[in-house]
């Protein structure tokens, strides 16, 4: 009981959760007890979050296959639907019907729990991710902090999966994941401090609002006239999210030529697909975070135009289209890199993370703060 109430309390007045709650209060027949309302609200909200994650994961897998196909002079899936767009559904059905294998000697409770935990961390992060200025579940002041905290718990699930599988390859994958994620959390968090400093807020909505104006483009934080340390910070952020989401060239935890399939070697069927969903959802989420903090968030010429018409719904739709388009652009970039680059080695990953990215991120923060304190107040366009 306390959890849904707590969620509702967290939500801002205009949040999707409150809107659903208001709607339900209006249509509630008398025989339904009052305590059922917040519970239903929470369930519907979770349903929406799961639906978004599933859609992102399904479109992500389809996109990955098409992008890799076209990069490799192939077509990718072509049979199921127009250009294979129904392929993810066919795959989903196949994975659901597959036998759910549990290896002999596996630590069964941990083995079963791990995929759920991995997916839950991403679902939790979805709570603070606004899809449009007026469509979000929780408007938390420490929004980005919550996202980073929740997504980093993925590692626990992965280590759990690797350990409980009773397979040496899985263990290797899990250990690599743990080492890699710990190493890259640091530059990831620090590089995000640069836009946070400029915006003066951890809240995704406020960061987006801070980049409004300038035809929806000129005030993006990435531009050097806003803060010249933003570009390097974004590069560091992008490298760090590649490592965080286990994407090439940092796909060591599931390096298929070395570790067979890394931590998910022993998983099959729908449990295996949870790891897959997590990967694509996390990629999308990090790309969206990147677009919020560096590339204007909801701000684009499209949103500016919609705002000029002063139609509330149009603004919401334009903002949603903008952020989703930016997210998928980032997703495409990550796929492009994956299908081009070879994989680095574990010691090179560690060296890059600790010896280069972390000091560089700190230098960026230092430079950016000097700029913000001494130069930004006297710049005419700030």
């Amino acid at each position: 009981m306390s959890l849904p109430l707590h969620l509702a309390a967290l939500a801002a007045p205009r949040s999707a959760t409150n809107q659903i709650n208001d709607f339900l209060t209006g249509v509630k027949p008398d025989f339904v007890p009052d305590w059922a309302l917040p519970l239903t609200t929470a369930l519907i909200s979770v349903g929406i979050a799961v639906a978004i994650i599933s859609l992102v994961a399904m479109s992500g897998t389809w996109l990955e296959r098409k992008v890799s196909g076209h990069i490799q002079c192939r077509y990718g899936p072509m049979r199921v639907g127009w250009h294979g767009w129904l392929q993810p559904i066919a795959d989903g059905v196949k994975l659901l019907l597959k036998e759910d294998m549990i290896p002999l000697g596996a630590d069964k409770p941990l083995y079963l729990l791990a995929p759920a935990l991995v997916l839950a961390s991403i679902l939790g992060a979805m709570a603070v991710f606004p899809l449009a200025p007026d469509f979000y579940f929780a408007d938390i002041d420490l929004g980005i902090f919550t996202i980073l905290a929740l997504t980093s718990t993925t590692t626990i699930g992965v280590v759990m999966a690797g350990w409980s599988s009773n397979s040496k390859w899985s263990l290797y994958g899990a250990m690599r994941e743990a080492a890699q994620v710990v190493a890259y959390e640091i530059p990831l968090g620090i590089s995000l401090l640069v836009p946070v400093m400029v915006a003066g807020s951890f809240n995704l909505l406020e960061v987006s609002n801070g980049q409004a104006g300038g035809f929806g483009v000129l005030n993006w934080y990435i531009w050097p006239w806003v803060n010249p340390f933003m570009g390097p910070a974004f590069l560091l952020f992008f490298i760090a999210i590649l490592a965080e989401t286990k994407r090439a060239p940092f796909d060591l935890p599931e390096a298929e030529s070395e570790l067979v399939a890394g931590f998910m070697t022993e998983y099959s069927g729908i449990r295996w697909s949870f790891f897959f969903m997590e990967e694509y959802a996390a990629m999308f989420l990090y790309c969206v975070v990147g677009s919020f903090f560096f590339f204007g968030g909801f701000e684009s010429p499209l949103t500016s135009l919609a705002r000029a018409t002063d139609v509330h719904l149009l603004v919401q739709v334009a903002a949603a289209v903008t952020i989703i388009a930016k997210g998928y652009a980032g997703l495409f970039l990550m796929m492009w890199l994956r299908w081009t680059l070879p994989r680095v080695r574990i010691d090179q990953v560690m060296t890059l993370g600790y010896k280069y990215l972390t000091p560089l991120a700190l230098a960026c923060v230092l430079g950016a703060s000097v700029w913000e304190v001494f130069l930004a107040p006297v710049l005419p366009w700030r």
Partner: protein, 402 residues
């Protein structure tokens, strides 16, 4: 397991003892052991059905032992039971990526026993086929090496060119992988009309694509970082292990059977200056590292195209097979011919007692000999390096096991 079991103090017992005696030095009597990891028989990095037993201390590989025999098909024993001509298709199956070269090696050995003259056009076509096959084989070697390092796309690009090469072979002999095209006495049939000009088109296209591969993968910074200074084979070690082919030349030793023990028309081609022998130079790291070995293969593809071009320029009409009877009776004696296969020296040692069936067919398989060096290279490398080293030896398990 030892029979006498000593009492190993647990951590709590050790801690209690340390508290009592005031010891400050922290010594834990915990037994640790290396992890034994089975790479294979089904593993993406073993390039076939091979098992490598890897001892690992974390990510560090402290020892490795290859285990063979999963693909053993008694090829040599079969050779003692079938007629001379009937054995030819079995040669296709050792190194299935370079079947033309396998055919050539066996045919040359038998022809040496027979002492017959091969028509010049047949020799030309044999050389073209062997060199095209070398390109196809090196494309696989380089492409799958990219896969081992984690680059998936170049592999598919290389398959595109290999596909064309296989289509060429399909046109000339009907088969795409196991050709049996080069026969004792020449080749099975003449090239179909237009085939030679298509080979020329292939050469033109390949030159462009080859440059792409060099730019995309060979000089890729991550690729160089992953392969340079890894799995170094010094010159003496290469000789001691009897390495041949790109493995040997990667260590900077100038030894190529096409020039040093010429067969077919290679002495003529070499005298014409049509090709060079690329050697490892340690350009990106140490002489004889993985990068050098791969580099030699990549450069060899370029040289093979030159050889094919030379043949296309000099080919003349004529018969393509010598006049030999259907059932061969080879005069008694023994013969050995080693040729430069894509993977090294492939030798056939054949013994005849004058009958229809060989007394002995012995194969000197380059993959088998080159594989031995793995055990010496692996200790002290990381698991990822171990994969890079296995890949750089470029073994074909069909050939190691036969």
């Amino acid at each position: 397991m030892t029979t006498t079991q000593e009492h190993t103090p647990s951590i709590s017992e050790t801690a209690a003892r340390m508290l009592e005696s005031g010891e400050r030095e922290f010594v834990l009597d915990v037994k640790t052991s290396d992890l034994e990891v089975n790479m294979g028989p089904q593993h993406p990095a073993t390039h076939g059905v091979m098992r490598i037993l890897c001892r690992a201390d974390g990510e560090l590989c402290t020892g490795a032992q290859p285990h063979l025999g999963y693909l053993h098909r008694c090829a040599e024993k079969i050779g003692e039971n079938v007629e001379w001509l009937q054995y030819l298709p079995y040669t296709d199956r050792y190194d299935y990526l370079a079947a033309m070269n396998n055919n050539l090696s066996y045919s040359l050995a038998v022809e040496k026993l027979m002492g017959i003259e091969i028509p010049r056009r047949a020799q030309m076509i044999r050389t073209i086929c062997a060199e095209l096959n070398r390109i196809g084989s090196h494309l696989i070697a380089f492409g799958t090496y990219g896969l081992d390092i984690g680059a998936i796309t170049p592999f598919l690009y290389m398959f595109r060119e290999r596909e064309w090469m296989m289509a060429l072979f399909e046109k000339i002999c009907g088969a795409r992988l196991t050709y049996s095209y080069i026969r004792i006495g020449g080749v099975f049939n003449d090239a179909p009309p237009g085939w030679l000009s298509e080979v020329e088109r292939f050469c033109d296209t390949f030159d462009e694509k080859w440059q792409e591969y060099v730019d995309l993968l060979m000089m890729n910074h991550i690729f160089v970082k992953r392969t340079a200074n890894i799995g170094v084979i010094p010159k003496e070690m290469a000789i001691d292990f009897g390495l041949t082919g790109p493995m040997l030349r990667g260590s900077g030793i100038d030894w190529d059977l096409r020039r040093d023990q010429p067969y077919e028309l290679y002495d003529e081609i070499w005298a014409d200056g049509a090709f060079e022998i690329p050697l490892g130079s340690g350009a990106k790291g140490t002489l004889g590292d993985c990068w050098d070995r791969v580099y030699v293969r990549v450069m060899e593809m370029h040289e093979s195209i030159k050889i094919v071009r030379w043949c296309l320029d000099n080919i003349e009409p004529g018969p393509v097979i010598a006049d030999i009877p259907k059932t061969l009776k080879i005069p008694p004696g023994e013969g050995y011919v080693g040729i430069e296969n894509p993977r090294g020296e492939l030798g056939h040692y054949v013994v005849s007692d004058g009958g229809k069936v060989p007394v002995r067919v012995r194969v000197r398989a380059p993959s088998f000999v080159n594989l031995a060096v793995l055990e010496a290279l692996m200790p002290g490398t990381l698991i990822a390096d171990a994969i890079a080293i296995i890949g750089s030896t470029d073994i074909v398990v069909g050939e190691t096991d036969r």
